[in-house]
């Protein structure tokens, strides 16, 4: 819990941690975006980074870690946007094969699947629980909000590869979804994910509301679901509340910290579902060392911070922190 008690026995109402972060705390970053060997970055405004660069400088700030600093011992990486995702996911998987502490997400593109509501009308319909009706009306009218249940008919290359060989899923930590960009997987692919209990990391927030994911994604899955950004990207308190409430009643649901840069958002989640919070940075969007400093400042209790830093992720993904401490091979 974030609330603590001072040495004189009085409750500590401070917002931020008073004590130093435990020395040498191990950190596993479950939300990295990396280019594997031979993958060229897509042109655009946002920078891309290679896996090799991340492993050479795991904190992402260029400065060498002293003994007391957090140690970024492992992570789970997905290919960034704009590259050919099947090829890029396989390249990461090849690069990371046998590297203790490191795994990768299979980033699942699926053009043509269900998309979350966009635009004020569709979002209002979602709030009123009428998004299915709106979707049926809009499909007739051709506006394509894609919010209706069962609308997905996947056509993407990664989905096709999973459908052709579902054992592919076993080679990855799970799949990463960006439904606001590429829609949800089709029913066949979702059935494979459910059959394998595959973990799913999914963008969540204003563009991909938690209530929409609860209605249109979660019923089709059986494995862990990690809502990125505490479900609140970029700073949606409504979605944060829904994500925390969802995590508190659905044991599959976990929340990842990247982009949740409002201290009270973190405290709200950590106070309620501390065992479900996983550290993520969304690197290269933010340096892990900076993102973790923000998390650490907002979590007063050392045991809870250790769980968020590595314990919850190690348990969920079967990562051995002891093995991960060994230098990258």
């Amino acid at each position: 819990m974030s609330a603590t008690t001072l040495a004189n026995g009085t409750p500590d109402d401070a917002l931020f941690r008073r004590t130093p972060v435990p020395a040498g705390l191990d950190v596993i970053d479950v939300h990295l975006n990396a280019l594997g060997s031979g993958i060229e970055p897509a042109p655009g405004f946002y920078a891309a980074e290679t896996l090799a660069a991340m492993q050479a400088d795991p904190g992402g700030t260029g400065d060498g870690a002293d003994d007391d600093a957090p140690r970024f011992v492992g992570g789970i990486a997905a290919p960034p946007a704009g590259v050919e995702l099947l090829h890029a996911s396989m390249a990461l998987q090849d690069d990371l094969l046998g590297t203790p502490g490191w795994q990768c997400w299979l980033r699942l593109d699926d053009e043509g699947g269900q998309r979350p509501p966009s635009g004020p009308l569709a979002q209002a319909a979602l709030r009123l629980g009428a998004d299915g009706l709106l979707s049926r009306v809009s499909r007739r009218g051709g506006t394509g909000t894609g919010t209706g249940a069962g609308a997905g008919t996947g056509t993407g290359a990664v989905a096709a590869a999973i459908d052709a060989d579902p054992e592919l899923l076993a080679r990855f930590a799970g799949v990463k979804l960006m439904p606001q960009h590429s829609g949800l997987p089709g029913r066949t692919t979702l059935a494979h994910l459910a059959r394998h209990g595959t973990p799913v990391l999914v963008h969540a927030g204003i563009q991909c509301p938690v209530s929409w994911l609860e209605r249109h994604l979660l019923p089709h899955l059986s494995g862990p679901v990690v809502l990125a950004h505490l479900g609140s990207w970029p700073c949606s308190a409504d979605d944060l509340h829904r994500a925390v409430e969802l995590a508190s009643r659905d044991a599959r649901v976990h929340l990842e910290t990247s982009g949740a840069n409002i201290g009270n958002f973190l405290r709200h989640a950590v106070d309620r579902v501390p065992e479900r919070i996983l550290f993520g940075s969304n690197r290269p969007m933010c340096a892990p060392r900076v993102q973790f400093a923000h998390v650490a400042a907002s979590v007063a209790d050392d045991a809870t911070l250790a769980a968020i830093a590595h314990g919850n992720a190690a348990r969920l993904f079967g990562i051995s922190v002891d093995d991960a401490r060994e230098p990258c091979r």
């Binding site: 109402d13 401070a14 917002l15 931020f16 008073r18 405004f45 946002y46 920078a47 992402g60 700030t61 260029g62 004020p120 209002a124 990207w233 970029p234 700073c235 308190a237 944060l240 982009g259 840069n261 409002i262 201290g263 009270n264 958002f265 405290r267 709200h268 290269p284 969007m285 933010c286 340096a287 060392r289 900076v290 400093a293 923000h294 400042a297 907002s298």
Partner: protein, 271 residues
């Protein structure tokens, strides 16, 4: 540790019940200043629904009770709100404010204009508080105060240029690089405005996307000033974000200290 100026701090209590603003007491912020090496800070009341008359006075008294390192900004509103997104709540809010003003039931004054000189600047949140009227801008200009305004999704740099900068004679600090929370288009508008208008500077608060900060630093390096947005995070963490993007020690000093010292006429703090 480099001495820093933090131009963006929310101090005191919000009455909104929203999660955004924890209650940051002056004593806790002073501890965070020491931890980060902040030697001067500029603070304002967090968002309130009941106006800022009492909150401004309370903040002024609180800063005067401290050791002088924290200076207050007066938080002001008005009856003109931007409608920059097709959202019903924004249109409703803007319409209600305008109709109230036309009916003679406009926003109560957030401050007596003749007390403005006791503050170090003015803070605006256009899409929620509105923009002050011409008489208040005349008072701001007469007092020679800088204005810091929230900017981004609901308060675009274009609106700010038209309705704030055009009525201001002094410095305008556009918060969040103009891009809160993740608006690439507004980031580019703010940079373009800073490039052609020498009175405009951009603060780093609330920006957690490295690409945004590195783009602004590449385009207008001389016009960027450090703000933490505390209590959304601590000044130490916010400064670490800047350091993760800016390698050049001279530019770090410009962003963290020199530009703010220049803006506020406080050039003697670099130890």
């Amino acid at each position: 540790m480099m001495p820093l100026f933090d131009v963006h701090v929310h101090l005191g209590k919000s009455d909104t019940g929203e999660l955004y603003y924890g209650l940051l007491e002056r004593t806790e912020y002073e501890r965070l200043m020491d931890e980060a090496g902040v030697v001067r800070a500029f603070a304002f009341a967090p968002l309130r629904t009941d106006g800022y008359r009492t909150a401004n006075a309370d903040l002024l008294a609180e800063c005067e009770a401290g050791d002088g390192r924290i200076r207050p900004f007066a938080r002001l509103g008005g009856d003109r709100l931007p409608v920059s997104e097709p959202q019903a709540w924004i249109a409703r809010r803007a319409l209600r404010a305008r109709l109230g003003a036309l009916a003679g039931r406009g926003r109560a004054p957030d401050i007596e204009p003749d007390t403005l000189h006791r503050y170090a600047g003015v803070k605006l949140l256009p899409h929620l508080d509105g923009v002050p009227d011409d008489a208040m801008f005349e008072a701001i200009n007469a007092a020679g105060l800088p204005v810091l305004t929230h900017a981004g999704r609901y308060a675009t740099p274009r609106f700010i240029e038209r309705h704030i900068l055009s009525r201001l004679t002094g410095t305008l600090i556009i918060a969040h690089l103009g891009a809160f929370p993740d608006r690439e288009r507004e980031l580019k508008q703010a940079i373009e405005l800073a490039r052609r208008e020498p009175r405009v500077v951009l603060d780093t608060s609330g920006i957690w996307i490295r690409d945004f900060l590195s783009h602004a630093v590449a385009e207008v390096p001389e016009r960027i000033v450090f703000g933490s947005d505390c209590p959304l995070t601590t000044p130490r963490v916010a400064w670490a974000m800047v350091e993760s993007v800016v390698d050049d020690p001279d530019l770090r000093r410009r962003i963290g200290h020199d530009l703010a010292a220049e803006l506020f006429g406080l050039r003697d703090t670099l130890r």
